[in-house]
């Protein structure tokens, strides 16, 4: 069975600091990878996704993520965070075989201090 691990449960940063959130998945086959963000009191929104091609993908609001197949990782990065980035971030994976479920990690809460 697939699983998604986000090792950082809560990250606290000052504005302008750089961000990297870890995401590892366990599945040996071909996968699609996603990062979703949930702002306080709001629904999930897609930040970025990787299906194929360039392993470095750029999303909205200055976020990017790098797919490293050998490490089963899809870490999220942003060079300079803003207070408005305070939110819960979810990594998600879906395999391209079987039932094609979307599996979510447990989420990382990011708090940005002005």
């Amino acid at each position: 069975a697939q699983s998604v691990s986000q090792h950082n449960h809560h990250v606290i940063l000052s504005e302008a600091a750089s961000l990297e959130l870890g995401c590892n998945y366990s599945y040996g086959g071909t996968v699609n990878l996603f990062w979703y963000v949930q702002y306080p009191g709001q629904h999930l929104q897609l930040l970025l996704k990787y299906f194929s091609g360039d392993p470095l993908v750029k999303g909205i609001k200055g976020f990017e993520a790098e797919f490293i197949k050998s490490k089963f990782s899809f870490n999220l990065r942003k060079p300079s965070v803003q207070w408005s980035d305070t939110a819960e971030y979810f990594c998600a994976v879906t395999a391209l075989t079987g039932a094609n479920n979307l599996f979510f990690g447990t989420g990382t809460r990011l708090t940005v201090i002005p």
């Binding site: 699609n32 996603f34 979703y36 949930q38 709001q42 629904h43 999930l44 929104q45 897609l46 996704k49 299906f51 819960e88 979810f90 879906t94 395999a95 391209l96 039932a99 094609n100 479920n101 979307l102 599996f103 979510f104 447990t106 989420g107 809460r109």
Partner: protein, 113 residues
């Protein structure tokens, strides 16, 4: 022009009651989903429907039953509500199952007293 909408936004009810949550999408997608987000923010898929057929049914109690009157709607009916059902329930949709981006609704916060 909301893409995925859910009603109600909040639902407070007592144990043992039966309740329904409605979901509608106007994206023309073929697949719709229900997720449960627990108090620790963990999201887990409950059901998905593709062209009015159930294609995923995770290990959820049979008190939960999805109902899809048409491709644009996937309602969630819950019988005999229990305290542990308290959570936020998210509806989502995608064009194809699994391979496409899922678009989420605003969530329904259910509190069972």
């Amino acid at each position: 022009d909301t893409a995925v909408s859910q009603t109600p936004k909040y639902l407070v009810t007592q144990m043992g009651n039966d309740k329904s949550i409605k979901c509608e999408q106007n994206l023309g997608h073929d697949t719709m989903y229900w997720y449960k987000q627990d108090s620790k923010k963990f999201l887990k898929i409950m059901f998905s429907y593709n062209n009015k057929e159930l294609i995923i049914n995770e290990t959820v109690p049979n008190r939960f039953s999805p109902k899809s009157p048409d491709k644009a709607h996937l309602n969630l009916h819950i019988n005999s509500l229990e305290l542990g059902d308290s959570a936020v329930y998210f509806c989502a949709s995608s064009q194809d199952p699994g391979e496409e981006t899922q678009y989420f609704g605003p969530g329904t916060r259910l509190l069972v007293l």
